[in-house]
Symmetry: C3
């Protein structure tokens, strides 16, 4: 790639990537600033590496936009960015050999059911099991040992890492990534109590629908709806070991950190951020753009968009912080109270 092509590539992901110096040079790969040679790209994200700018052999250096590089432009080109580290990581990926999860085509050990439709360029790994009537869109990769029960529909350009399980009827959009060990579409936890204290299972007849551009971490569980669908909308990002119960709806571009637990029939709006180990009681609703701190316990609906929640039971951040400050102040209150008590005794004795 030329330096100009690198600038244009990064410009797709980051604002205002500014080229300082020539855009013509060819870049063959990345390197550390101390060891970089002609034709390589490196970066400076930390002040203590600025001193290498004078000596580096790199043809291109990614730096913070505030760094003055005028004295080096005669020999080196620069890309100025807000976050040179992340920009460099993107370049690393661009230059790295492709990840191989499964070779193109269907592994000879994969078991493909009847009436399965498989698009062009699909890769299905060793020992994968694809149930009857599944469909798999173009260029999708199904990792080794993944199991799709019958009637699962997977879109295009999807990646299932090894060992993903989708129960029957699951619908997965395009460009979805699911990491190993996640189980999509297992039965929701529904049991009808009987007079003798035992339970009868409530059949879970619905499915899970996963929108485009969703990413799901490893060992996460998303349960099928009782009727209808549990829905993860477009662009949502879900971390590892998250529980999403039956009938939930997770809004577009909402992010859920590891070990959070969303009880049945919860509806979370768009662009929310849910912290790790947060928990939701069932049947409640969160408006758009709500931020939930880690470990928060949400016990009721919050319908005002954009607020931040914290505590168990959860309160708006300002109330909760005031509450926590007051709790930290308990010692002072107690002292004041004891002093007043003493003064009162004194007064009464007069």
């Amino acid at each position: 790639m030329t330096i100009q092509e690198i600038r244009d590539y990064l410009g797709q992901f980051f604002d205002a990537v500014e080229l300082v110096g020539s855009g013509d040079g060819l870049i063959s790969g990345p390197a550390k600033i101390e060891t970089a040679q002609r034709g390589q790209v490196t970066f400076v994200a930390n002040d203590k590496y600025v001193r290498f700018l004078a000596s580096t052999g790199a043809s291109l250096v990614i730096v913070h936009r505030s760094l003055c590089v005028d004295e080096f432009v005669h020999k080196t080109s620069f890309l100025k960015a807000d976050d040179p580290y992340t920009a460099f990581v993107f370049l690393l990926q661009k230059f790295s050999p492709p990840l191989s999860i499964a070779a193109k085509g269907i592994a000879s050990t994969a078991v493909i059911g009847e009436g399965v439709s498989i698009g062009e360029g699909v890769a299905i790994g060793e020992y994968a099991v694809i149930g009857d009537r599944c469909s798999i869109g173009r260029n999708t990769v199904i990792g080794a040992h993944s199991v799709l029960l019958h009637d699962v529909s997977v879109g295009e350009d999807v990646v299932f890492f090894p060992g993903v399980t989708c129960y029957h009827g699951t619908v997965v959009g395009n460009r979805v990534v699911i990491h190993s060990g996640s189980v999509i579409g297992a039965d929701g936890f529904g049991f009808a109590p009987q007079k003798d204290g035992s339970y009868v299972k409530i059949p879970q007849m619905g499915i899970v629908e996963i929108g485009d551009d969703v990413e799901i971490g490893s060992n996460t569980t998303i349960d099928r709806a009782t009727l209808g669908s549990t829905v993860i909308y477009r662009g949502a990002k879900i971390d590892n070991l998250v529980q999403i119960a039956h009938n939930c709806r997770i809004g577009e571009d909402t992010v859920i950190a590891a070990q959070a637990g969303i009880s049945g029939s919860v509806k979370i709006g768009r662009q929310c951020m849910i912290g790790g180990q947060a928990g939701f009681a069932g049947h409640l609703e969160l408006a758009d753009k709500i931020q939930v701190a880690a470990k928060t316990g949400i016990s009721k609906s919050f319908l005002q968009p954009g607020i931040a929640l914290r505590g168990t039971p959860a309160q708006p951040m300002r109330d909760q912080l005031k509450h926590e400050a007051m709790m930290r102040n308990l010692g002072a209150m107690k002292e004041k109270l004891d002093r007043l008590d003493a003064e009162m005794k004194e007064l009464k004795m007069k």
Copy 2:
């Protein structure tokens, strides 16, 4: 099925399902109330659908017991129930095609060890691995990719979804359901600290025993005992991502919601309800019928049956709610205290 047969079927699960109108008609399947035809069954669970009762073509409608349907009985039969929605879900299942997890018989790709006993009607899915000396009871389904180490005993009419792992010696009763990704019988977390700060593993020699009619969700972990058995008693229902440590005993018909964690040697009574993300310290005991709120942290035994627990550390619900109310009242206390302080100053100046 005839309408009368449907009534009798639902009567097995729900109290007092009352037939209003003729029981003779034949029902071929379910439908929405707006589109239902002669010979179909539908339901009304929401007031806004009551208006369709006049026009529906359905032969049978399931309604709430309080709904007056006298004016429609000339053309439609009714089943009155406490929960028409759930009753309808049961019917949906009755009429739906059977779920196919694995075809009857042993998949050609399954690996069966030596001395394995397999009952009539068993289905073992693709790539399942059954260790030496395992036994699998009649009509049990072992999903694809499930792994049983040696000497595992599984009862009759059991369903393992794909990817269940049972370590050696695990004993599973009849009619048990285990969802994908759950690991039964891995080593308990036991290590003996050494003088140099390192640890020596304490061998985990026991097993896990799972009683009849237990259901276990996906990606749950139940560890084998150090000696003897970790026991899940008959009828217990365990959700996804639950941790049950070595030597625990979970009582009959106890329900444990997702992401709860039960430390080693805990004994939970019968018909308890444990909320999501609740946590238990080790070596404690809960009496029967105790309800534990979500996110509760149980740090000691509670031996009085039937109480409800909440908070961290957990207290009986009444105490905890009083405590929480007092905490919410802290602001008012602080104001009163400051007012008294001011009044005291005033008094003293007199």
Copy 3:
């Protein structure tokens, strides 16, 4: 084994195992004290079994060091230990048939990539998939259905139970044990927010490194670093369903209980003990030998070695217990406050 050999074996793990009586007898196996015969070993860990000492046929009994056994030494040898139960468990293991996870050699159904190096004595189970350029050290056991993506390096004497997944580039030391369902090296949870509210994935280019003698439970997830390595240092023990995010460093001989969650770039020192369901905010540091109570929420660094932490947000144990005591005392404070208020009113009326 002779009695003397048993003493020496236990002496490797436990302090001051004292032989009382003859060390010459041959021991063929363990038994319960009630049924033990000549040539068998048993134990007494509970006072109510002391009465069997007179009648037992065992040649060797493991007892607590405080127990006086003089009257029985004419017929029985004794090993005195601090924890006779655990010592007996170690003997049980010594005498038990070996656990069979996978037969020596490579199962015919395992798929081995190109350029894989496999040491002597390795066992690879059914349907395991070993990616290109992996290396597996001597006497290591890879359980059935485990999947190693490309370029994974596993040391000697390692045990992977069935169904372990290692992403590309993972490095595993010697004598490591990983239980079923754990996922090592999946992508860290990193996404760059875009102006339209959507996210772009930040490539996760690093790896996971696991030191010697680490044990990892079932269904645990350890994410690869963004760059560089997520590191689990020698001797750390990690329980089930634990989340360890990208770029973390877990110190030597640190123990992490089930369902704890460690956010990105956290650094935990050596010989720490982290309780179940504890949670860590990102980018913080814990000194050596810190004890974190179950369910604690750590929101900042603690750099003083050896302290104990508790509460959310976490505080040193002493502060937190004082805080909790004050909270329990709130009712008394309120009463005092109300009394003072009444007294004040009275005073002012005078």
